[in-house]
């Protein structure tokens, strides 16, 4: 196994971190294990489930598919950075109000994917929401209320 490490620098939720990482570690590994940002979840580790969705340089990415060294110099936003400490963004509030949350394990990734959509499309149609969230798996909730939560946050209503 390659035990080579590299020094990388990340701006995570507005805070700068310089750290050594193994060449094969993913951004997800670094967020969870080195920076203890456990809000980002690991499920499939192959880019299919979306549980590890974060923003990197303004784009929503599956952090399990991004090598930490690829993120070097990048600006990362995780679920912990979406709203101020102890606060909720309107989207997060909408998830609670619409009953979109059950076990919650997929929710951080789901929220990050939905927030990314709303950044780029303030009034998405239902079809656009479904498309934008199609890479985020949920096994509890049946998606309907997740879609509604995004609609509520966008003020576009069901």
């Amino acid at each position: 196994m390659n035990r080579q490490t590299m020094t990388i620098s990340l701006d995570v939720n507005g805070q700068r971190h310089v750290l050594d990482t193994a060449a094969h570690h993913s951004l997800l590994d670094v967020l969870r294990n080195d920076l203890d940002l456990i809000g980002t979840k690991e499920c499939c580790a192959e880019g299919e489930c979306g549980a590890c969705t974060v923003w990197m340089d303004g784009k929503a990415v599956n952090s399990c598919l991004v090598l930490a060294v690829e993120a070097d110099g990048g600006e990362i936003t995780t679920i912990e950075g979406l709203a101020g400490e102890g606060e909720l963004s309107p989207l997060q509030s909408a998830f609670i109000e619409e009953g979109a949350v059950q076990c919650g394990f997929c929710i951080p990734g789901m929220v990050m994917a939905a927030a990314y959509l709303l950044e780029h499309n303030e009034r998405p149609t239902e079809a656009e929401i479904r498309e934008a969230l199609s890479g985020n798996l949920c096994r509890c909730a049946g998606y309907k209320r997740i879609v509604r939560a995004v609609q509520r946050a966008a003020g576009s209503g069901p």
Partner: protein
């Protein structure tokens, strides 16, 4: 408080932590000094282990232990729920693809992974038993060593148990129409988004086990038994599971971690990959042969049902899945004569376990298609034939069992109205409808401790798990209303056997009925205590004092808050009021399944869909799921659970199945190849409807919910697909390929159906 919480769509307790990423699941726990464990498995299901060389693995820096069977007590410790049948590590022969033959513990996960890859296993692959036919072949190898089944008359077969139920006389019954078919239901997996995780620390005072488990007290019992410890020395800490659906009910690798922790003197943790999770649990696949007799007017005369369930290598809870579901195999109908034989078979496949519906979807798939075929052959409407046979409230469905406990016609009518059953259909569309029923818990015990603290807040200790179904929210609503305490002042403590008293399990949709009732009793006890205190303070008989919704009412009309009375009664020294309560359902050994179900989950599902004639793809325009829930303590949670169940049902209906290769390996191992529904598979319109008649045994007349919405989805969709295309498919899932092939065989052309 102005509005009652019970019956209101109260927000989820724990919602804030879940949308902010603060919720700590098993993989988020940090144990100081913990070793990371990686399992070593073979690339086939069944193999004779000739030798294992761990020397190279042990040399990897950071590796603290490499365990094989030789490092465990001899004979190999075995564990399980029904039987102690599962070895801590494979010994002699592996029984399924994914069964560990060795395990590595290291300071880092990287080191553990690297070392696991360097364990060299000399093995000889042996032919596996992978399906029902293979298991029943007289020449088949025995999955379970007969020496492990002493005194078992079936020990020299791959049949673990046979369950037989009968009433009336099927052989003597006459019928105008007899329909006989075989239906298959595939292996599917739970696919909770949270993979399974475990950790164990040990010292001379006992072990602490962390696990994403639904039933902490079952884990405590099994761990105590396999380790030879008193229960009091096994503490189970169970963080809220990130989805479970039955898959996280029973022990998996906790015993292995305990032995590794005892040997290494360090805590050991293992978080499975999704692929390893797939190999750890699945639903029982089944083959259901069914012969049904009808009168010419469509009334059921008999059901003759034979079912083979492929359990896999170890029993886990499957024997119960099979015995319980087959007892209700004839469904929610009046069936004068029935004969049911269900067999639990071993195979060299991952062990199956409980999964939402608990064996019932397999039978419902067969039963409801039989009703459709009879309707077609007798020229009856598919709804009408069901209405002619559906049991009325109070009517017996299985002799000497719980009678129909709800107005099931009301549920069907609501589904019919919502889907517009007899309304005009747009071109190319068809509708389908089906019903399903599942037995709830037959026995159990739910203990709770309700503590009214000096400041008027309430602490509730329960052994129930909140895995997304929202048990915390429901219990909070109940306590809030019963004691008149704001929901914010109620804290539900779960998931620690050192804190919360015994709960039998979080299964069979039981928690609202069992734990809800237990907590209700705790609240009633507290109110009595408050009444006694008030009586003592005023020198009045307790019966003269009212306690309701947080207020104490005296005979002179004066009202005081409970808190004031409690504080006055306890005085400056302080203290608290404590209620210990329980709700027990005793087992009945004389009953075929150990007791009558406390309630049924009844569901009616109706769909409107179209089938692409070129590709065989199904597009669901509308999906209606109707559940008879007694009382929705939280309508939002009821509806959203039923929606989730409906979509999970669409998974096994349209796309999900574990495919095995000739080595017994799961060919579609992982999220890339095993598809579950996404937002794009969601029906264009999904509607969840609740029937509330307050006729359940739980608090305020509630029944359990959460499984019903899945039971008959496949049959409802298949019904519509047959209507749309004229072809009948008896194997799941209804993939585009399968539908396309069936249409091609039947000569269905893109321009129109060729009805037969």
């Amino acid at each position: 408080m102005s509005i009652p919480n019970v019956g209101a769509p109260a927000g989820r307790v724990g919602g804030f932590d879940r949308v902010t990423g603060r919720q700590r699941y098993i993989a988020d726990l940090r144990l100081e000094d913990a070793l990371h464990v990686k399992l070593v498995t073979l690339p086939c299901a069944r193999a004779r282990i000739v030798g294992i060389d761990t020397s190279e693995a042990a040399r990897v820096p950071g590796v603290r232990a490499v365990f094989t069977a030789a490092d465990l007590p001899d004979p190999m410790p075995r564990y399980g729920v029904h039987y102690d049948d599962r070895p801590v590590l494979a010994v002699g022969e592996t029984k399924f693809h994914g069964e560990p033959v060795a395990a590595v513990a290291a300071d880092t996960l990287d080191a553990a992974r690297e070392a696991a890859g360097l364990v060299t296993v000399d093995y000889e692959e042996l032919p596996p038993v992978l399906d029902v036919r293979g298991a029943l072949d007289p020449a088949a190898p025995l999955v379970v060593d007969p020496d492990l089944r002493p005194g078992d008359p079936l020990a020299d077969t791959n049949i673990r148990r046979e369950f037989r139920y009968a009433w009336g006389d099927v052989d003597a019954a006459t019928a105008d129409l007899v329909i006989e078919n075989t239906y298959t239901f595939p292996m599917v997996t739970h696919f909770a988004i949270e993979p399974h995780g475990f950790a164990v620390s040990s010292d001379e005072s006992g072990v602490i086990v962390w696990s994403s488990i639904q039933h902490p007290y079952i884990l405590q019992r099994v761990m105590a038994r396999v380790l030879g410890l008193p229960w009091s020395k096994v503490r189970v800490i169970a963080p809220d599971p990130g989805g479970a659906f039955g898959g996280k009910g029973y022990p998996k690798f906790e015993p292995l971690l305990a032995f590794m922790s005892m040997a290494s003197g360090r805590p050991c943790r293992l978080v499975l990959t999704l692929e390893e999770t797939f190999q750890a649990v699945r639903r029982n696949s089944a083959e259901v042969r069914i012969r049904t007799g009808f009168d010419s007017d469509g009334r059921l005369r008999f059901q003759d049902i034979g079912a083979d369930f492929l359990m896999g290598a170890y029993v886990d809870i499957s024997e119960r899945v099979i015995s319980k579901s087959s007892h209700l195999a004839a469904g929610p109908y009046r069936v004068p004569n029935a004969r049911i034989l269900a067999r639990a078979l071993h195979s060299h496949t991952p062990p199956s376990t409980a999964m939402r519906g608990f064996g019932t979807p397999q039978f419902t798939w067969a039963l409801e298609q039989q009703m459709d075929e009879a309707a077609r052959r007798l020229g009856l409407d598919r709804l009408e034939i069901r209405l002619r046979n559906l049991a009325r409230k109070g009517e017996e469905i299985v002799p000497n069992d719980t009678p129909a406990d709800g107005d099931w016609f009301e549920s069907v009518q609501k589904a019919v109205d919502a889907i517009g059953w007899s309304g005009p259909l747009p071109e190319g569309r068809a509708r389908g409808l089906a019903v399903g029923i599942k037995s709830s818990a037959t026995a159990g015990a739910a203990y709770s401790i309700v503590r009214f603290l000096y400041d008027g807040s309430v602490l509730v200790l329960v052994g129930t798990s909140d895995m997304g179904q929202g048990a915390r929210t429901i219990l909070t609503q109940i306590v809030s209303d019963e004691l008149g305490v704001p929901p914010d002042a109620v804290t539900i403590v779960m998931g620690d056997t050192a804190a919360a008293p015994f709960d039998y399990s979080t299964s069979a949709s039981r928690s609202t009925v069992f734990m809800g009732s237990s907590v209700m009793r705790g609240c009633a006890d507290l109110k009595d205590q408050v009444r006694s205190i008030a009586a003592r303070l005023r020198g009045l008989p307790p019966d003269d004092i009212g306690v309701d919704r947080g207020m104490v009412t005296f005979p002179d009309g004066e009202e005081k808050g409970i808190v004031e009375v409690v504080q006055e009664g306890l005085g400056p020294v302080g203290g608290e009021l404590i209620a210990v309560a329980s709700m027990r359902g005793e087992a009945d050994p004389s009953h075929p399944i150990g007791g009558r179900p406390w309630f049924y989950e009844f569901n009616c599902t109706a769909v409107e869909l179209e089938v692409d004639r070129l590709t065989g793809e199904v597009l669901i325009h509308k999906h209606v799921t109707v559940g008879d829930v007694g009382k929705a303590i939280n309508p939002l949670q009821v509806e959203s659970q039923d929606e989730g169940a409906a979509i999970m049902g669409l998974g096994h209906t349209l796309m999900e199945h574990l495919v095995l290769d000739e080595h017994g390996r799961i060919a579609n191992l992982g999220a890339l190849d095993y598809r579950i529904p996404t937002t794009k598979d969601l029906p264009l319109d999904l509607e969840s409807v609740i029937v509330e008649n307050e006729d359940g045994p739980g608090p305020y007349g509630a029944k359990g919910v959460g499984e019903g919405g899945l039971l008959c989805v496949a049959a409802a969709v298949a019904s519509a697909v047959s209507e749309a295309t004229g072809v009948v498919i008896r194997d799941l899932p209804l993939t585009p390929e399968r539908i396309w092939r069936a249409m091609s065989r039947a000569g269905v052309t893109p321009s129109g159906a060729s009805r037969r």
